[in-house]
């Protein structure tokens, strides 16, 4: 890997983290224009990601967590998607105002992504080794045989047995877990500073999930990547994240250190999510639930989007949108009654 590391360090001179900060998302909005109306998928999301940090973005389907990832990666289909406001600073440069050819060069070497469904994300008609090698050929101008040699090294790094023989195999010849390893190999091939993993283990069995998560953690520590882990699985988050960001109806409702958030959530939604989980290590009574359903993004309720489902909802919640504000050291919540939720 030594040759690769030298290329990386010269290459990275253009983008240097500012005070260890890799990503700074500010007041991001994303909407989808459809025949039925405008779906407001993201409504003013701000967060940061530091070098070597694991940030978990959690939320239920439709909360906007995957759209956030796609906006950072710049792979939203526009139209129907539109970004009416906000900034995504990567090492101080706004990705959203960057010319496309410059931005394209960031995908892979700077910011990279792993998708949930490896089978549909890999190209079925090309061998996996070819697909990994393509990264080196396109971004590093490597010749075919050097690129393939790099691909084999990466496949070995992500613990694919008999990598040299399997480099010519096609995606369908691998199991789900092995395909996810191939995707990880592709994503880390150019040594990105930021790795976004969108539900990387949702389609996998638990024993395989454990293997993949420990591989991801190992790679992150080895390369000091900033990791954004997008998931709905609060168990996985508890195992790997440093910080969590909880999304609901396109807004961040809580950000906190992972230990603080699980010990004492500051937003009723976070509390509801944690309380509604059955526990492996306990035989519980009736599960506590969050009543109702997540809102339709075309008709987000006025005030706090969570108010129709909230046990604490009062008049002010139906009127004013709560802003994400500091409610403790290093923790923020968007609830009019955050202090009471936190301490009571």
């Amino acid at each position: 890997m030594t040759t690769q590391e030298t290329t990386v360090s010269t290459h990275r001179s253009e983008y240097q983290p500012i005070d260890g900060r890799l990503l700074d998302v500010q007041d991001l909005y994303v909407e989808f224009h459809t025949r039925d109306g405008v779906a407001r998928a993201i409504n003013g999301v701000s967060f940061t990601l530091n070098q070597g940090e694991s940030l978990a973005i959690i939320g239920e389907s439709g909360s906007g967590k995957s759209v956030t990832a796609q906006a950072i990666m710049g792979i939203l289909d526009m139209p129907p998607a539109k970004i009416p406001g906000g900034h995504i600073y990567y090492c101080g440069q706004d990705l959203l105002s960057m010319p496309e050819d410059k931005r394209r060069k960031t995908r892979g070497p700077e910011v990279s992504m792993i998708f949930q469904d490896a089978l549909s994300s890999l190209n079925p008609v090309f061998p996996v080794g070819w697909q990994i090698a393509e990264m080196f050929r396109k971004h590093r101008d490597m010749n075919k045989s050097d690129a393939l040699a790099q691909a084999i090294r990466l496949m070995e790094r992500v613990q694919i047995p008999a990598a040299r023989e399997r480099v010519k195999a096609y995606p369908h010849q691998f199991s789900g877990g092995m395909r996810q390893r191939i995707m990880i190999a592709m994503a880390i091939s150019l040594d990105p500073a930021v790795l976004i993993a969108d539900e990387p283990t949702t389609a996998l069995d638990v024993t395989v999930q454990a293997q993949i998560m420990s591989l991801l953690q190992e790679l992150q520590q080895e390369r000091q990547m900033g990791l954004i882990l997008i998931t709905h699985d609060l168990g996985v988050v508890a195992d790997v994240a440093d910080r969590i960001a909880v999304m609901y109806a396109g807004r961040l409702v809580e950000t906190a250190d992972v230990f603080d958030a699980y010990a004492a959530p500051a937003h009723p939604y976070t509390k509801g999510l944690i309380d509604s989980l059955p526990r492996l290590d306990q035989k519980g009574q009736t599960l506590r639930t969050i009543s109702g359903l997540p809102p339709n993004l075309m008709h987000i309720p006025p005030g706090c989007a969570f108010n129709p489902r909230c046990y604490r909802a009062a008049e002010v919640c139906r009127r004013d949108v709560p802003q994400l504000r500091e409610v403790g050291i290093g923790r923020h919540a968007a609830c009019h009654f955050a202090e009471e939720v936190l301490h009571g």
Binding site: T207, Q211, A241, F259, L280, D281, T286, T289
Partner: protein
């Protein structure tokens, strides 16, 4: 102890693999390969396992949606395998199923009323013709849906609501046994809890017995009285919820339990980790001897030769059934209290 309501006796289901122009049989996928258990009246039996272990096929065999290759299913002592179509139809009134995917298991062109009321078309004597609509509305109310939505179509409901429709259809004929095949896996966490609570409520009110098939070990523990762990078409271990989770003796169960993430960051690094290498082998060509021996961390020579039987083996309490030559209790859920991280077992 309550008497068994449903008994599986050495159930086997092989699917032929046909290849070539002549579609000759080239092999067998051994989806279920000798599974026996009793479901007791009023209890919930959880069946867990990874994808491809045969748990869904088992569910379909139990209600005779699939004809077993061999073995039989007894319902209240009556053998279902030789029943005539007429007798089977009668039996199916007592055994119903709820499917995993609430998006594909409901006909998009039928109204909710037609879907939930369809069992009454097949069993006209269940409810008199004039009372059906009222009965459907009662059922909708029972599962927490608005009875006025009887004329709506499935696409007008969310995933959780659709699963309630599936449950309403499942209980329409007042069955005694409900087979639930991954009923909550497609649902979001907050909705999943609502459906699990509903199922527990219905069990209490209607005296149902459940076979609850799922891959989520936390949900299964929550809802089950007894739990069976499947691996490649066979039961690796079966016992009460406490026996299987706190006193498991099979290395596969222990590895599975240790791999489930627990939503509590304070136990990070303090858990007993058993890391399995590799993937589940193909059920078309399962390993010889113990099927788990290719991935087992306790494997010895005997394991690849001699198949372990599902027998009561000591677990530190009394004993429960486990299919391992070297069965030994290990509580992987007793999280270490010390600051030293535990070394993973590979």
């Amino acid at each position: 102890m309550a008497e068994p309501i449903l008994t599986a006796e050495n159930l086997v289901k092989y699917y032929p693999i046909r290849k070539g122009v002549l579609r000759t049989v080239q092999g067998q996928v051994k989806a279920v390969d000798g599974v026996s258990f009793d479901l007791l009246r009023g209890e919930t039996l959880g069946i867990v396992g990874e994808s491809g272990c045969g748990k869904s096929t088992l569910g379909r065999l139990l209600m005779r949606l699939e004809k077993p290759t061999s073995g039989r299913v007894l319902f209240e002592g009556e053998d279902m395998s030789n029943s005539s179509a007429r007798a089977l139809r009668r039996l199916r009134r007592d055994i119903q199923i709820v499917f995993q995917d609430p998006y594909t298991s409901l006909n998009p062109r039928m109204t909710v009323g037609d879907i939930v009321g369809e069992p009454f078309e097949i069993h006209p004597d269940a409810v008199p013709r004039g009372g059906r609509r009222k009965r459907v509305q009662e059922l909708l109310d029972l599962v927490g849906l608005n009875p006025e939505h009887i004329n709506r179509f499935p696409h007008q409901f969310s995933g959780g609501q659709r699963q309630r429709i599936g449950i309403a259809r499942g209980i329409a004929l007042n069955p005694k046994v409900l087979i639930c095949d991954e009923p909550v896996s497609a649902l979001d966490v907050s909705v999943q809890a609502q459906v699990v609570n509903l199922m527990e409520k219905l069990q209490d009110e209607l005296g149902l017995s459940y076979v609850f098939i799922a891959h989520d070990l936390s949900v299964v523990r929550h809802i089950s009285d007894r739990v069976g762990v499947m691996y490649l078409g066979k039961l690796a271990e079966i016992g009460t919820e406490d026996e299987v989770y706190e006193h498991s003796t099979h290395p596969y169960t222990q590895a599975l339990l240790s791999a489930v993430p627990v939503p509590d960051p304070t136990v990070r690094g303090k858990r007993d980790q058993i890391v399995l290498v590799g993937d589940v082998p193909s059920p078309a060509n399962p390993p010889t001897g113990c099927r788990f021996h290719t991935r087992c961390w306790k494997v010895q020579e005997k394991c690849s030769v001699e198949e372990p039987q599902l027998l009561v083996r000591p677990d530190g309490l009394g004993g429960h059934e486990s299919a391992c030559h070297f069965a030994e209790p290990r509580n992987v859920l007793a999280f270490g209290a010390g600051d030293e991280p535990l070394q993973p077992t590979v």
